[in-house]
């Protein structure tokens, strides 16, 4: 999922100078899942803004703010609702993709209330770790299903660096060197020897943004 983090309340308020009527849009996918921009946080933000005298005219959190039909569908359009209610500004707690999609489709300013962090995995309902950097050139079939491109700060594909001391990453002492995990896993799978092969150079064309995926229309 896309993991986001709520910005400090003061920072959000600082971008709202000169506005009174505010519409807040969260997102139940990434932002809601990581409890940093779903309906609950949107409602909390609304209360705090009201406390400062803002007029919050609507709070919505669709299941996917980055999906155009969910924010601007034929039967139900949150964007039209925001317009009808006379919103002067929209505060989005959706990820960068959702927030931009809103901005593309409304005439009023859109302020983001979150920072988009990473594509991560969740555990215990509260721990989120970056597992993928969407490099476009996935190699995890060769590394025991563990990605060194995303989970080693240097994205090393041929093995650990010389800074991997006692299993720790040199860059972030809080995390293990991912190559220890890869080694362990590959041993378990009986595939350790396959790591002997020199890894091909990464093709960074595949991560040149902005990227797109267009599905063929079904005939």
């Amino acid at each position: 999922m896309v993991v986001v983090k709520l910005k400090a309340f003061e920072e959000i308020v600082s971008k709202l100078k000169g506005f009174r009527k505010i519409f807040i849009l969260g997102c139940e996918l990434g932002s809601g899942r990581c409890k940093n921009g779903g309906l609950k946080e949107a409602l909390e933000l609304s209360e705090r803004l009201k406390g400062l005298g803002f007029n919050v005219v609507g709070v919505k959190s669709p299941g996917g703010t980055c999906i155009l039909e969910r924010i601007d569908g034929r039967e139900r359009s949150l964007l039209k609702e925001a317009k009808t209610k006379g919103s002067e500004v929209i505060v989005s707690l959706a990820c960068g993709a959702g927030t931009q999609l809103i901005a593309e489709n409304v005439d009023v300013p859109v302020i983001t209330g979150v920072t988009t962090l990473f594509i991560g995995a969740e555990r215990e309902g509260r721990i989120f770790n970056e597992y993928c950097i969407a490099c476009g050139d996935c190699i995890i079939s060769d590394t025991g299903g563990i990605c060194p491109v995303a989970r080693c700060p240097k994205s090393l594909v041929n093995g650990p660096c010389g800074g991997a001391i006692e299993g720790q990453c040199e860059v972030d002492k809080e995390i293990p060197c991912i190559w220890y995990k890869i080694a362990e896993r590959m041993k378990k799978l009986g595939a350790f020897k396959s790591l002997c092969e020199s890894a091909p150079f990464k093709d960074y064309r595949k991560s040149v943004y902005p990227r797109r995926l267009i599905l063929e229309e079904k005939s």
């Binding site: 594909v157 093995g159 660096c161 010389g162 991997a164 001391i165 190559w179 020199s198 150079f201």
Partner: protein
Amino acid sequence: MTFGEKLKAGKFLITAEVAPPRGTEWKDVVRGIEPLKGKVDAFNVTDCQRSMVRMSPLAMSKLLLDSGFDPILQLTCRDRNRIALQADLLGAAALGIRNICLMTGDFTTLGDQKDAKPVFDLDSVQLIETATRLTEGYLLNGKELKGAPRFCIGAVFNPFAGPFELQVMKLEKKIKAGALFVQTQPIYDARIAEEVNDLVCELGAVPIIGLLPIKSLKMANFMKKLNPTSVPDSLIEGLERSENPAKYGWDYTIDLAHAIAEFGKGIHFMLVGKTEELASFIDYLKNHKKYNHKF
């Protein structure tokens, strides 16, 4: 004989490290290593070591070359993509720099400009493959070069990093990719030095064992923090007991250097503070009947 010629001839190698200045004043750096001219075979010129900006190692290598020293240009993957790395390697060769030592490099956030964008387009194995490709007359994309460089390629190895099997596997890849010599992180134990020496020889390259004289207990503890298993307790205890820890640390290193001169292929001094002392030690080694046949 140049460093590369000695390497090929199987002579005992002595290298040392030079950090380019933070600024344009390079003459003091050269003056500082003057006593080692003709004694140390080649000087590793570090590439913004510990991710702190210094003069370009390519420029400093050329300045050393012009001053009568044989440089080993260190290049890391931290700040340059494959385009810039190939360009710098070609430039180095054109300037007469023959020795290169290629490594991944410290991460940006460990330095003093933590907000810099880390590159790491290639890793150390791939950078060595790249340099080898250039010596074969081609760019990475297969285009033919007008004039191919000649390089004596080196790599680095930290025997205290893990997982050990993967570190050895990576070392093997580096040597397979074209590394002719391997310089190690500082070692403080003759037994480990010998094991590493044998390992690198077995894999088909020339080992040059890293030595970094300990100047104080504080420095020993710092080294222990970086590489906990690298500093033996006996060294720490010796430093604690000694009235002159700097002398103790130096003598300890020299003892180790003696041992390596017996079984090994080369030593790499990573501190050029005591140049006069180092110069006389090298003279002693080269003239001693026990070792002189190796030089």
